[in-house]
Amino acid sequence: MNLHLFPEQASEIARESDWLFWALTALSALVCVLVFAPLVWFAIKYRRGRKVNRDFNEGNTWKIEVTWTLIPLFLTMGIFAWSAEVFFRMENPPPGALEVNVVGKQWMWKLQHAEGAREINELHIPRGKPVKLTMTSQDVIHDFFVPAFRTKQDVVPGRYTTEWFTPTKVGRYHIFCAQYCGTSHAAMIGTVYVMEPHDYERWLVQGSPEPLAKQGEALFHSLGCSGCHGPTSKIHAPPLEGVYGHLVPLETKEFVLADDRYVRDSILLPASQIAAGYQNLMPSFTGHISEEEIMEIIAYLKSIANKTPEGYAK
C-alpha cells in the first residue's frame, strides 16, 4: 500500500506555499490544544455531582475578552501579510520566462510552445527555468492545476489568464482540471514532464516544428491581415510593427497597452477600441479564427514589436 501524505514539492514556489501551510497547521494545532484542553478539563472537573468550589464572581470580563480578540487578530494579520507577499510573487512572472500557450476545451488541454512544438494533455518543460503559461478556453471555464507545483489558475473563455512556475525536480506530475466543466471534467487530466535542460532542447526540435511566430506570420498573410495592415495597402490601417507591448492612443483620447488582451479584442471586437486617427473599418474575425491561431498572431506581433514600419508613406 503506497500511502502518500505529502505531495511532491517540484517548484520553487511549492516550498514557500508549504511553509505557510505547515505554519497554519501548527497554529491550528496550538489553538485546538488551547481550546480543547480546557474544554475537556472543565467537563471533567466540573461534572455535575462532584463537590468542587464553584464560587465565581464574573466581574468585569472585558479585559480578557479584548486580549483574546486582539491576539487572534494580530496572528491572523501576520499570516495574511506573509501569504500576501508569497501570492504577489505567484502572480508576477519574471521577464524572460519560457512561454507556453494553453487552450483548454471540453475535455482536453492543447499546448503550444513558442518554438512551435504542440502537445495534447502533456507539458514538457526544462528543470530550473521559469515557465509562463498564457491560457484561454474555447468554451467553459476550466482550471490548470499542477499540485506538485502548488499553482492553479482558472482558464476563462474570452480572456487570457497566466500562470507561472519554476520546476525544481525532474519527474512526472499530474495536471488536473480544477474547475467543473461538464461530463468528463474528471478525465481532463494530463502530465507535466520536467526534464533536464539538454533533454528538453532535444525534445523541442523533434519533428522540426515551425516557431509560433513564423506560423503567425503565415496566418497574417493567409487571413488577409496584411491586405490592410501591410505597406502597399489602399486602406488606411495602422501598421503593426512596433505596436505590441507599447501604448496605443485611442480615438477617445485614452491610451491602452497593446498586450495579449488588446490584440485578441482587436481581432474579435475591433469596434470596441479604435486607434486615434483611424476609422472603424476593420471587420470582426469572430468565428473565422481559432484561439490557437490568435495566439500565433500574437507571437508574430511580438516578434516585430521592436521593428519600425517600412515602406509607409510619411
Binding site: L5, F21, L24, Y46, D55, F87, A187
Partner: protein, 539 residues
C-alpha cells in the same frame, strides 16, 4: 399529551395543519419538509461515496455523478441547511422566548412554508425528469450555454424558495423588534435571539441578490442575452461576483443560528451564565456585517485582480475573529459550572470541537497563497462539511433534542440519544478528516474518478459515511418512537431559564395565559447554590 388540557397539538384535522397560522405548527411543518429533502440529498451523497470507493468505478455514469453532486448541493444548501434552525426551531421558539403569542405576521409565515415547498417541488421535478449537472454554483457559461437538462426549472425552484426565506427573515426581524414582552430589553434577550436576528438581516438583504442572479441566468439561457457568455459579449466572472455576493453571506445564514443554539445548550447544561454576554451578542452582528464583504475569497484564482484578492483575503481573516470569540466564551462558560452530559450537551461539545477545526481550516483558505493550491480540492469540501455538518447539523440535532420535550410533550430516550450523538461524531470525523489530506495532495472536487494513489483516503471516507448514516437514522427512529412511548415531559425538564420553559409541554395555542414581565438578565443560573441541592444533581 395530558388528556385534560388542550394544547397547540390538540386539533387533529388535516385542514388545521395545512391552514395553520400557529408558529409552532409551522415549525413542525418545516421539520417534516426538511427531513424529506435531507433524506434525498443524503441518498445522493451515499451513492457518490460508494462510487468513489474505487478509482474508476462503474456504479454511475459520469453525467449521473455530476447530477448527484448538483442535487446534493442544491437540496442541502437551500432546502435543508438554510431553513433548518431558523424555520424549524426559530419559528417554534422565538415567540415563546421573547414572551409573545406568535410572530408578527402569522399568515405570511404560512405562505413562506408553501413557497418553500413549491420551490422544492420544482427542484425535485427537475431532478426526476432528467437532472441538472451544473453544480449548485451554476457557473457560467456552462450553466447558461452548455449544460443540458432542466437548469431553468431547478433555478426557478430555488428562486421561489428564496422568497420563502425572505419572508421568514422579515417576520423574525419585526417580531424581535416589536413583540418582546415588557421588560425584555435587547440585552435581556437570550443569545439564540441575537443570532437569529443577525441571520434574518442576512436573509432579508442577501437573498434578493440571489434572486436577480438566478433571473439573469434564466433570461440568458432562454433568450441568449449575453450578460455572462463571452461568445455573446458577456463576462463569465461577473456571474461569480453576483453569485458569491449572496452565497457567502448565505453560509453565515447557515451557521449563525447553530451558534445561537449552542449558547443556549452550554448555559443550560453547565448551569451557568454565559461568559461575556455582550461580546457574544455583538459577535453575531459582526459576523453578519463583515460576512457581506468577503465574497471574493471564492474567486482568488478566477482572474480577479491581485489587489482585490488582497482585500478579500484580509477581510476573510478578520471575519474569523468574532467566531473565535464565541468559541472562547463558550469554553470559559464551562469554568466552575455544573456540567451534565445529556444528549444536547454532547452535541454542543461536538459543535465546539468540529466548528473550531472547520473554522481554523478556513484560515488556510483565507491565506491567499495557500488557497491557490487548495482551491477546488477536497480540502475545501472537508472545510465546509466540518462547519455545515460538524457545526450546523450537530447544533440542529442538539437543539431538536433540547426542545423536543417542549414541542411534543415527550422525552426522547436518553441513552439512545447519547449513543447516536457519539456515533455521529465518530462517523463524521472518519468521513471528512481524510478529505483534508486528499485535498492537500491535490485531488480536485467534483471528480467521479481519480488517480489510484488517492484511493485509501476515499475508502476511509466512505467507511465513515456509513457510520455517519447510522448516527442520522437513529434519531429518526427514536424520535418517532417517543411520540407514542416516550416519557411524558414536564414543563421544564432541564430546569432551564428562558421564557419558553415557563409554558406547559406542549404549550397552549396562545403560548402564555398572561404575558410575563421580565426583570432579570438571561441565564440566571447559580451552580454554586445548586450543588447543595441533591434533587437537582441528575446527570
Amino acid at each position: 399529551m395530558n388528556a385534560d388540557e388542550s394544547n397547540y397539538l390538540s386539533e387533529h384535522s388535516v385542514r388545521s395543519w395545512l391552514l395553520t397560522t400557529d408558529h409552532k405548527r409551522i415549525g413542525i411543518l418545516y421539520l417534516l419538509s426538511i427531513v424529506v429533502y435531507f433524506a434525498i440529498a443524503a441518498t445522493a451523497a451515499a451513492l457518490m461515496r460508494i462510487q468513489l470507493l474505487s478509482p474508476h468505478s462503474d456504479l454511475v455514469l459520469p453525467e449521473t455523478y455530476n447530477k448527484l453532486f448538483t442535487l446534493h448541493g442544491v437540496l442541502m444548501v437551500w432546502f435543508f441547511l438554510i431553513p433548518s434552525i431558523p424555520a424549524v426551531l426559530g419559528n417554534f421558539v422565538i415567540p415563546m422566548m421573547i414572551g409573545a403569542r406568535d410572530v408578527a405576521f402569522p399568515k405570511l409565515n404560512l405562505i413562506s412554508w408553501y413557497l418553500f415547498n413549491i420551490g422544492g417541488l420544482c427542484a425535485l421535478y427537475a431532478v426526476i425528469w432528467g437532472g441538472v449537472d451544473t453544480g449548485w454554483t451554476f457557473y457560467t457559461p456552462y450553466s447558461t450555454t452548455y449544460a443540458n437538462g432542466h437548469v431553468v426549472t431547478m433555478i426557478m425552484g430555488v428562486f421561489i424558495a428564496g422568497f420563502g426565506s425572505i419572508l421568514t427573515g422579515l417576520n423574525f426581524i419585526v417580531t424581535i423588534h416589536k413583540m418582546r414582552a415588557p421588560g425584555m430589553t435587547w440585552f435581556r434577550l437570550p443569545l439564540f435571539i441575537w443570532s437569529l436576528y443577525s441571520t434574518s438581516l442576512i436573509l432579508v438583504l442577501a437573498t434578493p441578490v440571489l434572486a436577480i442572479t438566478l433571473l439573469a441566468i434564466t433570461v440568458e439561457r432562454l433568450w441568449g442575452v449575453g450578460i455572462f457568455d463571452p461568445n455573446l459579449g458577456g463576462d463569465p466572472v461577473l456571474f461569480q461576483h453576483m453569485f458569491w455576493f449572496y452565497s457567502h453571506p448565505a453560509v453565515y445564514i447557515m451557521i449563525l443560528p447553530g451558534m445561537g443554539v449552542v449558547s443556549e445548550l452550554i448555559t443550560c447544561f453547565s448551569r451557568k451564565r454565559i461568559f461575556g454576554y455582550h461580546f457574544v451578542a455583538f459577535s453575531s452582528l459582526a459576523i453578519a456585517v463583515i460576512g457581506f464583504l468577503v465574497w471574493g475569497h471564492h474567486m482568488f484564482v478566477s482572474s480577479q485582480s491581485v489587489y482585490a484578492g488582497m482585500v478579500f483575503s484580509i477581510l476573510s481573516f478578520i471575519v474569523a475573529v468574532p467566531s473565535a470569540i464565541k468559541v472562547f466564551n463558550w469554553t470559559a462558560t464551562l469554568y466552575k459550572g455544573s456540567i451534565s452530559y445529556d444528549t444536547p450537551m454532547l452535541y454542543a461539545f461536538g459543535f465546539i470541537g468540529l466548528f473550531t477545526i472547520g473554522g481554523l481550516t478556513g484560515l488556510f483558505l483565507a491565506a491567499i497563497a495557500v488557497d491557490v493550491h487548495l482551491h477546488d480540492t477536497y480540502f475545501v469540501i472537508a472545510h465546509f462539511h466540518y462547519i455545515m455538518v460538524g457545526g450546523m447539523v450537530l447544533s440542529f440535532m442538539g437543539g431538536l433534542h433540547y426542545w423536543w420535550p417542549k414541542i411534543t410533550g415527550r422525552m426522547y430516550p436518553e441513552v439512545m440519544g447519547r449513543i447516536a450523538a457519539l456515533t455521529t461524531f465518530v462517523g463524521f470525523n472518519l468521513t471528512f478528516f481524510p478529505q483534508f489530506l486528499l485535498g492537500y495532495l491535490g485531488q480536485p472536487r467534483r471528480y467521479h474518478a481519480y488517480p489510484p494513489e488517492f484511493q485509501i483516503f476515499h475508502i476511509f471516507s466512505t467507511a465513515g459515511a456509513s457510520i455517519l448514516g447510522v448516527g442520522y437514522l437513529m434519531p429518526l427512529f427514536y424520535f418517532l418512537w417517543s411520540l407514542k412511548y416516550g416519557q411524558r415531559a414536564p414543563a421544564n425538564p432541564w430546569q432551564a431559564t428562558g421564557l419558553e420553559w415557563q409554558t406547559p409541554s406542549p404549550p397552549p395555542r396562545e403560548n402564555f395565559g398572561k404575558i410575563p414581565i421580565i426583570t432579570e438578565a438571561p441565564y440566571d443560573y447559580h451552580p454554586e447554590v445548586e450543588q447543595a441541592k441533591p434533587e437537582l444533581q441528575h446527570v
